[in-house]
Amino acid sequence: MTATLVLVLVIALAYLATHVLYDWVAKRYKIVSGAEYLVLGYLLGPQVSGIFDQQVLQGFAPLTTLTLGWVGVLVGMQFHLPQLIKVPGQSWRIAFGESLLTLALVAGVMTWLFSAFYALPTRVALGPGIALGAIAASVTPAGVQAMASLMRSKGAVLHQLELATNVNNLVAISAFGLLLCFLRPPVFATFRTPTVTEWAVIAVGIGIVGGALFHLFLGNEKNPDRLVISVAGAVILASGTAAYLRLSPILSAMIVGFILVNTSGNRERVENVVKHAERPLYFVLLVFAGAMWQPPRQPVWFIPVLVFLGWRAMAKIGAARLVTRWNGAMPMLGPHWGRALMGQGALAIALSLDYVEHAEPRFGYIVFSAAALSVLLTEFAALRLVSSVTEPLLEPLKRIPIAGRYLREELRPSAELPPPDGSSATTDEQPVVRGSSD
């Protein structure tokens, strides 16, 4: 069988499995799906079955770049300014404080570890260290969104978690995008090689100029066919240009997404177009990421990976706790809300894949392995982690009779609620994440 056919079959079967079987399992056991395709990709890749050989993977490189760009656009589209300005300053401080502290803690420790463990100069160790710091900051929105779908309205904790997730992803992409400007090999242009600062300006500029031009290009377009063509063209062009310059397509595409969502008169329609392609591209990203994984060449490579996993968990919880205390928000958020930010998903994979394509292979696969293992371990538990934070905060209120009745109603799973139009709850648009209904 050809590799393309296998890929198509895998994705087709993944769809069926997701829709028909996994939906049921997920609802029952509070599982968020996605990571299984990573394992599937690994089994199909050159390391195990060899169905996808290196040549095939190289042939599909543009598709991989497109998926990275799409992930970036989706993150950028979460920042709709008219909604965000309503968020209190304290929430912003907590979100940025937690994400930057996590980034700094993980990057610092991992840089030290690489430096000490592999006897590297600090300057060299900073690359994988900061990459892992950025990956550590990233959070999957799956758990928070699934939890939100189970409740009729969001409380303060869920609002904070939603904001923190988006800010964490923003910080992760920005830090990683800037890192790639440092790692970028020199170019022999006709005039002179741009400096790191200039590369950073170019990376951001692709997003800003691209976003502004695509905004003008889209205009007030409402026709779905034309929107699909324009948005697809815009994302492909922006992420492709960034990748062509060996910059991060995720960063440029995120800025494009941010500009489009804030300037377009058809924000919801544009968002829908982007989300329409989300699922197949997500599967493609995971399958390719799995196929591209190679065991690192360094001896005892698993030590930095294990340290990353453990230290990230501690950094997330610790940073959230510290920042909450500094901002006097302990009564509202509690000491353990950082636990809900431990789930990782497609962004972590996208960042690590981007790193593998740009960085030295000797450390690229350590970073990738750490991200992949983290996703495998945490994505399945994302919803449980979120609910473990939100539910205890509501317990004291449940003891008050009136509030308790209200909360029981509030926490009634939406899957059990009759749809507003009285039709079947199952639509053509099933989400990637399936929440619990227990």
Binding site: G34, L213, E429
Partner: protein, 451 residues
């Protein structure tokens, strides 16, 4: 106009950026592909506002930014994007089969067959005789024995008669035309596709007997292989169509993506089983629509929605592949051949329509929808070229030159035919189900981002 200005700015931006990176097909493919989509879309809109078919604009954009003029899309990038074109062809073929509904085939089958018989017969004869008469213009046939000239003229005729399901589908999708001229044209084009594949296969087999191919492996006439290519395509297509119908009946999820997967999957299956790909997809589409009950229509609408961007990409890449040099080099032969083809299609259609007793609009305007040529002709020409490297290459150049003319003139005439017959609609096919494109994904509380 605003979009054209932005396109110029994007073009200028790319020219600034390109010197800063490594110019390799795999790195260039994505930005150029994105630019080509936006360029084709913009020029298509401009063409639309000039009352020309949008697909002429897509072709024009591909041509202007392609290797022939500005060179923004280099040849190696066009080759790199070949799988995208193949996916587009597969989707179009499947959609075309789904459009050809059983009821219509039963009601209008005789009319279509009579029109087709007269049109194909006359065109085949006229083109074969014209090439025989003008064979001295083809370098590799100029000094060939008469027997070989006749054989290659027949082979040429069997390819040159082909129509373009892609252009027909794109035009119907763009205009939303559903009247008798549109339906009859579609029926003739689709059934002709099957007939041409069979005729071409038989002609190639005959040619191989009379003029053994110089390439290794091509010397043996594998009649069974040819039979399998055709019969197998029908069988495999029917099985695939049945499986798709089952999916539609029992699952019916994510039809938009499912449509794309089906198209790609089917194209791969055809390659693996060595069956005629387009015929297999046509049959699969036809069976899926017929066997899925009312649910086949949903898939068709989903595919129509997927088709809009696919048409942009397909015709932009087709435009980039146009070789004006071929037309210039062989214009003394190409122009008469195109004129003879057009005249014989007109004559054949008039005879067939009179024979079938069709209404006046069909008798007068259907021929204008049959001039276009695109993907199928290129595919068949490539087969001839692979079997007979030297003569086949000459014929392939001739075909490419004819296609370059017919794929631009054809859609313009087809649009005019639909306009004259009063079948142009304000609501294109892909737009009738806009609500389907925006089923609650963003608004749904259960939707999520993968990041």
């Amino acid at each position: 106009m605003r979009r054209a200005v932005i396109l110029v700015l994007l073009y200028a931006g790319l020219q600034l950026v390109f010197p800063l990176g490594a110019r390799r097909p795999e790195t260039l493919a994505l930005p150029i592909f994105g630019f080509l989509i936006l360029a084709a879309y913009t020029v298509g809109e401009l063409a639309g506002s000039a009352r020309l078919p949008k697909l002429v604009g897509y072709l024009a954009a591909g041509f202007v930014f392609g290797p022939a003029v500005l060179g923004t899309v280099p040849v190696d990038v066009v080759d790199f994007l070949e799988p995208v074109s193949e996916l587009a062809v597969a989707l179009i073929a499947f959609l075309a089969g789904a459009e050809l509904q059983w009821k219509e085939l039963r009601d209008r089958g005789v009319v279509i067959l009579k029109l087709l018989g007269a049109e194909l017969g006359l065109t085949f004869l006229a083109l074969t005789l014209t090439l025989m008469a003008m064979h001295s213009f083809v370098p590799s046939l100029a000094n060939a024995p008469m027997r070989e000239v006749v054989v290659f003229a027949v082979l040429f005729g069997s390819v040159a008669i082909v129509h373009s399901p892609a252009v027909t589908m794109a035009m119907l999708s763009e205009t939303g035309a559903r009247g008798p001229v549109a339906r009859t044209t579609l029926g003739v084009v689709l059934v002709a596709d099957v007939a041409v594949v069979v005729l071409f296969s038989l002609t190639l087999a005959m040619t191989r007997i009379l003029v053994p191919a110089p390439t290794s492996g091509a010397e043996a006439v594998a009649l069974l292989t040819i039979v399998w290519e055709v019969v197998g395509a029908v069988l495999v297509g029917a099985v695939l169509g049945g499986l798709i119908a089952m999916y539609l009946r029992f699952f019916e999820h994510q039809l938009f993506i499912f449509a794309l997967i089906v198209a790609y999957f089917a194209a791969e299956i055809a390659g693996l089983l060595h069956v005629e790909r387009l015929l297999m997809l046509l049959v699969a589409g036809f069976v899926a629509e017929a066997a899925a009950g009312g649910k086949g229509e949903k898939l068709r609408h989903s595919m129509e929605r997927a088709a809009a961007p696919v048409f942009v990409v397909f015709f932009a890449l087709a435009g980039a592949a146009i070789q004006p040099d071929a037309v210039v080099d062989m214009w003394l032969l190409v122009i008469p051949l195109c004129l003879v083809r057009a005249a014989s299609i007109w004559g054949g259609t008039r005879i067939g329509a009179t024979w079938a007793g069709t209404a006046e609009p069909e008798r007068r305007y259907v021929w204008m929808g049959l001039l276009s040529q695109a993907g199928v002709a290129i595919g068949l020409a490539a087969i001839v070229s692979s079997v007979y490297p030297q003569r086949g290459e000459d014929l392939q150049t001739l075909f490419l030159a004819m296609i370059a003319i017919n794929q631009v003139v054809g859609p313009i005439l087809f649009r005019r035919a639909l306009q004259k017959s009063g079948e142009l609609s304000d609501t294109p096919l892909g737009h009738t189900h806009d609500h389907e494109a925006f089923t609650p994904s963003a608004g749904s509380p259960r939707s999520t981002s993968p990041a």
